[in-house]
Symmetry: C2
Subunit: 204 residues, 2 copies
């Protein structure tokens, strides 16, 4: 253990607390005092380390999405077969979301709140480029490896099948009647089930 104290730093405590509160309650619902309490420190420290609520929020937000973006971008333009990309996206995304099940809702929510600001914060200068993937899909259609399908619909389907279960978890758990463990198992299955489902639908 090189540096055991690192994650009990005041700054780290603030970030942990802020992550928890912001993700649970969103930007508008979160209170600076809640975060301070959760971190077990004085509220003034929040402003000492991060100037304002906005800035603290932005830190958490970037952190939440920041991990995923580069991986998605890499995958999009990777030189891999279409089916492999589908399999990898599902596995990657679902694995990530299982570790942080509330991030998808948190992100989706804040993107909805201010779609403008989001683009900048998230992607900075270069937004993800789907053109290569789209072309790849069109190629597969042309080669008659898959049925004719609009690339947009296919991408939408893939994202839907991977992301929605985490957004709708409370509703799904309720309607279908799942406890925490069952949900986890279903999601574990889904890493394989989603690509299989998609491929079964489009493969010729």
């Amino acid at each position: 253990m090189v540096d055991k104290k690192k994650d009990t730093t005041t700054e780290a405590k603030i970030l942990d607390a802020a992550r928890k509160v912001f993700i649970a309650k969103g930007m508008a619902g979160a209170r600076m005092q809640d975060i301070a309490d959760e971190a077990g420190i004085n509220k003034a420290m929040l402003h000492y380390y991060f100037r304002s609520k906005d800035q603290l929020f932005e830190t958490i937000f970037k952190e939440s999405v920041g991990n995923l973006i580069p991986r998605v971008k890499a995958l999009l333009n990777a030189d891999l077969p279409l089916f492999t990309k589908i399999e990898m996206f599902a596995d990657n995304y679902i694995s990530m979301a299982m570790q942080n099940p509330y991030i998808p809702m948190f992100v989706m929510n804040e993107v909805n709140r201010q779609p403008q600001a989001f683009i900048k914060k998230m992607f900075g200068n270069d937004p993800p480029d789907l053109s290569k993937l789209v072309e790849q899909i069109e190629q597969e259609v042309k080669k008659k490896n898959i049925v004719p399908i609009s690339p947009v619909q296919l991408v939408m389907n893939l994202m839907s099948l991977c992301v929605f279960p985490f957004l709708g978890k409370p509703i799904l758990s309720m309607v279908i009647g799942l406890d925490e463990l069952q949900f986890k198992n279903i999601m574990e299955q889904r890493k394989k089930a989603v690509p299989e489902f998609i491929i079964a639908s489009i493969k010729k």
Copy 2:
């Protein structure tokens, strides 16, 4: 025209404004003053007609979901072929969401906020019962009309494919690059495309 003035009633103006503001900003983000301004009336009227913010919110919330619930319940237990149910669900849900594209996010969001209270508000005494649909799916599997698939996964897939595009609209519009009209067209296509996609995947 029996009663032309009905929708310019103060109460109606409040409801219209509240719907707009709550759906746009969520419970925590919405301000009573915003709603009053939007309705062009004095803030005190909000409390005169609806005792509190909570109560006004609940009115809007119930109204937002209330329309859908009975239709879903009816469909679940209807005496119709599985494929027909899938087709009808997709068409019904997507049509509804196209008319009120922000409701799905609004509802999902508030369900996440307090899943407990939601059940009561939403379903009252009798929550939706999936058992008939589940049995139906199992039957189709047994009869080898469809490939072996977990009913839970299938239901999750159907909901994902219908609901997610509206939750992720800003992200999708951004990533894929869609304007309002294109999005609308894609969703219109989807009423048929989703059932086709599912059925192609599971039909034997």
